[in-house]
């Protein structure tokens, strides 16, 4: 077996096992950590597909930023496992139905001619000079520049909306304003009082 296949099976196994652990493990913090592991394994698989930019972006964005915030929140929560398991029997049929529909959909899609091994061209391996980052940039900023700008705009709207929704100014919070602190002059803070000199008391007696 070539090295690439060994690596693929290694990362794929880790990915599937950790993804299964995400939904089965009881501790929410560990579930989040397994999600990190599965993101990382997915990134490794992308790397073997010569998609190094996407792979590193996945690690950078999801592992490095999103999941850190996730963990931040999950660690603060005091999750009561018993209460979470209460509705299991009641929600089970709905969950099973949704899962069943998804499995059928997947099977239908994957069995179609489009995903047939005959109709899908074999991925072409590129030489060491091939730069996925450059290729992606060339396509993104020429052919798909409009879609790219629209996506940027949507994200900007989302950022502003998130800030507006969470920004609550409480009137009693006291803020420190560094610019005002820097602007302070001597005359505002310092008062020089002129007063007569104190007489030294006689202590020799």
């Amino acid at each position: 077996m070539p090295l690439l296949s060994i690596l693929f099976y290694l990362f794929a196994t880790v990915l599937v096992v950790s993804a299964a652990m995400v939904v089965t493990i009881r501790n929410p913090v560990k579930a989040a950590l397994f999600l990190v592991l599965s993101f990382f394994s997915a990134a490794c698989i992308w790397m073997t597909l010569e998609a190094e930019f996407l792979s590193i972006a996945l690690v950078l964005v999801y592992v490095g930023a999103v999941m850190v915030l996730f963990l931040f929140v999950v660690m603060m929560l005091d999750v009561d496992i018993e209460r979470m398991r209460e509705g299991f029997a009641r929600n089970m049929p709905v969950g099973a139905l949704v899962a069943g529909i998804m499995v059928v959909e997947f099977v239908v899609v994957m069995m179609s001619d489009r995903f047939d091994s005959q109709s899908l061209p074999r991925p072409v391996g590129h030489g060491p000079d091939y730069s996925n980052t450059k290729e992606l940039g060339l396509v993104l900023y020429t052919d798909y520049v409009f879609a790219f700008e629209v996506a940027g705009l949507i994200l900007l709207v989302a950022i502003i909306a998130a800030i507006v929704l969470t920004m609550r100014r409480r009137p009693d919070t006291r803020y420190q304003s560094p610019s005002e602190q820097v602007k302070v002059s001597k005359s505002e803070r310092l008062r020089i009082v002129s007063m007569p000199t104190e007489k030294r008391p006689e202590i020799n007696k």
């Binding site: 913090v29 560990k30 950590l33 990190v36 190094e52 930019f53 590193i56 972006a57 690690v59 950078l60 592992v63 490095g64 930023a65 850190v68 915030l69 963990l71 931040f72 660690m75 603060m76 730069s131 996925n132 980052t133 450059k134 420190q176 560094p178």
Partner: protein, 343 residues
């Protein structure tokens, strides 16, 4: 000498890579050990003290004594802690700190992996170093450790954005993500180095680097006067040593990256003899030591930032500064005749 080459070529690739990795990690660990001694000595002299001078001549064997002490110390695992995560956390702290060195070019040819997306790789790995801290804080099951981990997580997420934007400026000017190409773009002497046209980004990167490694004055995640020792309060022996190793390896890493991105990497400061006679490795290590010295100088000089001040500096000062400078680079480069400054 040819027989060494023949033996080398006959080795399997995995073994060749292993030996190369050993040649990077071995000196790195020694460098970290002596960096701790340098820190104690430098800070001591800045405090008008002598520093460690008992073990070996002028205290030169102190790091070895420290390592031996930490190795033979009992490692205590708190009974209420999460054992697996408690033991995995130091490993997760050390691994990214070492793995990032794979793409660092020590000279034009001396680099383990000369990959195209080197800059992204480094950024991704430094962003992963936060996991060691968070997991350690949570697995210890101690409020001080947890507070330290929470502080660290918020701080690293905040400063990573500023750091990433500073790197965007560099790659706009250099036009490449490959670290060696970035260094070659700075060849020709001191005035070609990127710290001049990118001076605001240089400062932002350096300060964010200090924050990212949880060093003074941004060491709130340890904050020994407030939360004992922060995230590693429950670690002893080798667990503690691993965090220590990771922290100093990360500091050297940030120093190396600052040198590569802003201070011309292995380029000599002047493009004429006698400066070009010295090899590139010398210049690289000399500049690296200079930046690494700054880390120690900061620690001896500045009092610790308050937490809200750290957040304000990261979000309200650094990120706007980097965004504005990126716009300045873009506008100057493509819409004005002064684009030469940024090329």
């Amino acid at each position: 000498m040819s027989w060494i080459g023949t033996i080398w070529d006959s080795l399997p690739l995995i073994l060749q890579l292993g030996i190369k990795i050993g040649f990077i990690v071995g000196p790195l660990i020694i460098a970290v050990a002596y960096y701790t001694l340098a820190e104690r000595k430098v800070i001591a002299y800045m405090h008008v003290r002598v520093g460690p001078n008992r073990v070996g001549p002028r205290g030169l064997l102190q790091p070895i004594a420290d390592v031996l002490k930490l190795m033979f110390k009992e490692m205590i695992i708190p009974s209420k802690s999460d054992k697996y995560l408690f033991l995995i956390a130091p490993v997760l702290a050390v691994t990214p700190a070492f793995a990032a060195w794979a793409v660092i070019p020590f000279s034009g040819t001396l680099v383990l992996a000369d990959i195209d997306a080197g800059l992204l790789y480094v950024l991704a790995l430094t962003s992963m170093s936060v996991y060691g801290v968070i997991i350690a804080g949570w697995a210890s099951n101690s409020k001080y450790a947890f507070l330290g981990a929470m502080r660290s997580a918020a701080q690293i997420v905040a400063y990573e954005i500023a750091m990433g934007f500073a790197l965007v400026g560099v790659l706009m000017v250099a036009g490449s993500l490959n670290l060696n190409t970035i260094i070659q773009a700075q060849s020709g002497g001191l005035h070609q180095w990127f710290f001049l046209p990118l001076f605001p980004l240089f400062l932002v990167y350096l300060i964010s680097g200090v924050a990212e490694t949880n060093r003074a004055p941004f060491d709130v995640s340890e904050g020994e006067s407030e939360i004992v020792a922060g995230f590693h309060v429950d670690y002893s022996g080798m667990g503690f040593a691993a965090f220590f190793l990771a922290e100093y390896a990360n500091m050297l890493m940030i120093s190396a990256l600052t040198v590569i991105l802003f201070l011309g990497g292995w380029n000599p400061p002047f493009d004429f003899p006698p400066f070009i006679w010295l090899p590139g490795v010398f210049w690289f290590l000399a500049k690296l030591s200079l930046v690494a010295f700054l880390f120690l100088w900061f620690r001896a000089t500045f009092p610790r930032y308050r937490y809200d001040q750290i957040m304000r500096l990261g979000w309200k000062v650094f990120i706007p500064v980097t965004l504005i400078w990126i716009a300045v680079i873009g506008v100057f480069k493509f819409f004005t005749p002064f684009g030469v400054i940024f090329s």
